[in-house]
Subunit: 282 residues, 2 copies
DNA sequence: GCAGTATTGAATAATTTATTCCGCCTTGGC
DNA sequence: GCCAAGGCGGAATAAATTATTCAATACTGC
């Protein structure tokens, strides 16, 4: 399941041959079962060695490894589909269908997060945030929503989390950071000019940078000390945007919960619940 | 699935070595993924050639064929099991455990949405938003994140979606609404004083109100024309907050996708993708 | 006890997969 | 425009995995 999403998400940054391979696999995932690397190469019109290199580039040990992963994806998809439609062989209302589709896509996207993100990266990121008191978060547009979310979480943990929607002010805020601070940059594409400015600025000052982008090589993740990724790659543009955002949020939430676990925060919890009570009083 | 049953069914008529192989496979089906025929032979204490012969005797072309079949069985079983009950008491890294727990909770929370929300309410809400051009969204604190999210979505659909984090300004914005406008109020508790003010104001002006709150009777949902609910109720306070927020967002996203479907929006899609390109240019 | 048959594993062949190496092309600097 | 650096793809080759052969042994029915 995840495997195919991963491939789809990396389509953009593939060479021609790699892309042909990817397309073939996506279109004929179910056929792969009976293909050797040589056969696949022939089917696509390339060399066997290229097939193997393709597999390795995607992070698999070799061809059999990819094959197994694709097979798993095929099986999982068909099993889930079966158990879903099994519930109601009848036609469902459009809303139900839509909701189930959304939940299914979401489920697969989120499941992929642990596969494309090294556990070490997650641990490093949470270490990083645990040790610092001051975090500047930056993200614009859709990623701005994620940024707000994360700001809220970090504030709850007692961290000074800075964020501003104005890029100029964000840069001003950056000038208040020191080496013990952390810069968290959130961007779908990883190419946003304002964020790159912030990254350059932080690099000069030796401020640690965590990036959170789509899963593909991009300027931002290259500039970051710790790069986190969200899966992307659904065909439906609008749905894809939703899913990427939710995957980003999900990663933030994972970091948040990790921090909760590691930070003895009983007093903080009381504090913030008191605060909430205050806020919500009628 | 069939594969393991087949093996089990033939247990009786097997020779000693074959039986050892069969037992091992049945007990360690999940391990087979990473075993070569030689490794399996070693693990069982036999020769590699016997392994191959065993496979062929069972009707498979050879070892890889059996391996694939066993793998399928394992996947199918685990997929079905996971969707049924979520118990896997294996030793995992803390991160993996945390993530799986989170995803499981999320999954169940989201699945509940269709149960606590009338389909009619969802349809009404989307009708309501479809027909209007001007929406004032209000939500503070954590719900503010959801509000921002929804604002972004509605703007993408070409709706004038207003939102301000300052309650006073929000009220000012409300004074620009007319009977064709919609007020969308988002609150966890449904008791926030500022939102209630907005609701009273809108009632007087006969502006339609959609509320999005936790699933319990509350002042806000009573004041609303259409009340939508997010499940709440996890024991862990912090996790619960996350889940409620995500459920709220999920509801918003459902509305958004419904609107996408119903609104012929090809030109809008182009527009907004052009916009995004502009924004993300380096 | 003996012929016939089945089972096993060592050796080997065949196949599949992984790596190396080389030529080609692109890219970026001068 | 030229050259160096680096990535890409494929042919050749190495390594590994898998399949077959064959001989030894054990077992079965007579």
């Amino acid at each position: 399941m995840v495997c195919l999403l991963k491939i789809r998400g990396m389509l953009e940054q593939m060479s021609i041959i790699e892309r042909k391979l990817a397309d073939f696999i996506l279109d004929n995932a179910h056929l792969l079962r009976d293909y050797s690397s040589q056969q696949l190469a022939d089917a696509v019109g390339t060399s066997q060695s290229s097939v193997v290199k393709f597999c390795q580039k995607l992070g698999y040990k070799g061809y059999p490894d990819l094959k197994l992963a694709v097979n798993e994806a095929v099986i999982t998809a068909s099993t889930l589909q079966r158990s879903d439609s099994h519930e109601q062989g009848q036609q469902q209302s459009d809303i139900k269908t839509l909701v189930e589709q959304l939940q299914f896509s979401l489920h697969s996207h989120l499941r992929g997060i642990l596969e494309i993100n090294d556990e070490k990266a997650l641990r490093d990121a949470s270490d990083c945030l645990l040790q610092t008191d001051k975090v500047l978060i930056a993200g614009f547009g859709q990623s701005g929503i994620v940024a707000h979310d994360m700001q809220f979480r970090l504030l709850q943990l007692g961290k000074l989390a800075l964020l501003h929607t104005d890029p100029a002010i964000a840069l001003q805020l950056a000038s208040t950071l020191d080496q013990h601070s952390v810069l968290l940059l959130i961007s779908e594409s990883g190419q946003n000019a304002d964020l790159l400015k912030l990254a350059r600025f932080a690099r000069q000052r030796q401020i640690r940078i965590i990036s959170l982008t789509s899963f593909k090589t991009n300027a931002l993740s290259l500039a970051a000390d710790i790069a986190l990724y969200a899966l992307s790659g659904d065909e439906n543009v609008r749905l894809n945007a939703l899913l990427v955002q939710l995957a980003q949020q999900h990663l933030c939430h994972i970091l948040y919960l990790l921090l909760c676990q590691r930070q003895n925060n009983d007093h903080l919890l009381e504090e913030s619940s008191k605060l909430l009570d205050l806020l919500e009083q009628q």
